[in-house]
Chain length 112, copies 2
DNA sequence: CCTTTATATAAATTTTATGTTATATAACAG
DNA sequence: CTGTTATATAACATAAAATTTATATAAAGG
């Protein structure tokens, strides 16, 4: 799943998460998004490219501006995967053979 | 949030997600985890270190083995953040001023 | 003890990300 | 047209990640 790679990687950067946080307040242009960061405009453009590549944001053309907004169902696949993981974790948590394995380890330790 | 950085980064790698998938079936040792991959054991050890650092797995000591398992509530913070983002996206989706902005762009385009 | 098994760590290398400066493009304002 | 504004791209530097080979450690099995 190459898609999850890019999605998770996109979310792994604090600047990009901050950009998403800003976009949660509504659409914004590249300059507006760049303003709060101590970073050049090209750097922000690249972050936006990563976010767009991950399907997390969309851009429209408005004259010389490129307003960005959050992509509505971007996190669907991420969600599905995390749901699966969450369930696996829950299952794992109360899995009997794991408990038994642990008991065996803890108790069966003393040399027979 | 340095934590989200490491968590998302940990999930951004397909090998590591595959390792989590394997652990979803139950506890496994380093060698067992390494086996399916075309990769050396040290490489897998490092991936495990990353997963452990992200709080996604735990390890116990069993003699010379280090069985790994999924950490029960590892994805809590990720979940919280994604929940927030999801809601932001939903809010954004039916936000009136965004719709209006879009209409203005689309229609008001013709030179007055 | 000595060997093997399971894992970790170190050093070196390759790859990928991130950022910078400088420059291009393209619409807009006069 | 011309200058300015908004954004993108290219070329480069640096830094961080992923991997490998070689080696260390430590418990287990004889």
């Amino acid at each position: 799943m190459r898609n999850l790679d890019t999605a998770f990687l996109a979310l792994a950067d604090p600047t990009r998460r901050a950009i998403l946080a800003r976009l949660a307040l509504g659409e914004a242009t590249v300059m507006e998004l760049a303003e709060p960061f101590d970073m050049t405009q090209p750097a922000v453009s690249r972050h936006l490219k990563v976010l767009e590549g991950a399907g997390l944001i969309t851009r429209r053309v408005e004259g010389t501006k490129r307003p960005c907004r959050l992509a509505p169902d971007a996190i669907a696949e991420i969600d599905r995967w995390l749901d699966w993981l969450r369930q696996a974790m829950a299952r794992n948590y109360d899995r009997l053979d794991d408990v038994l394995a642990e008991m065996q380890t803890e108790e069966g330790k003393e040399k027979p």
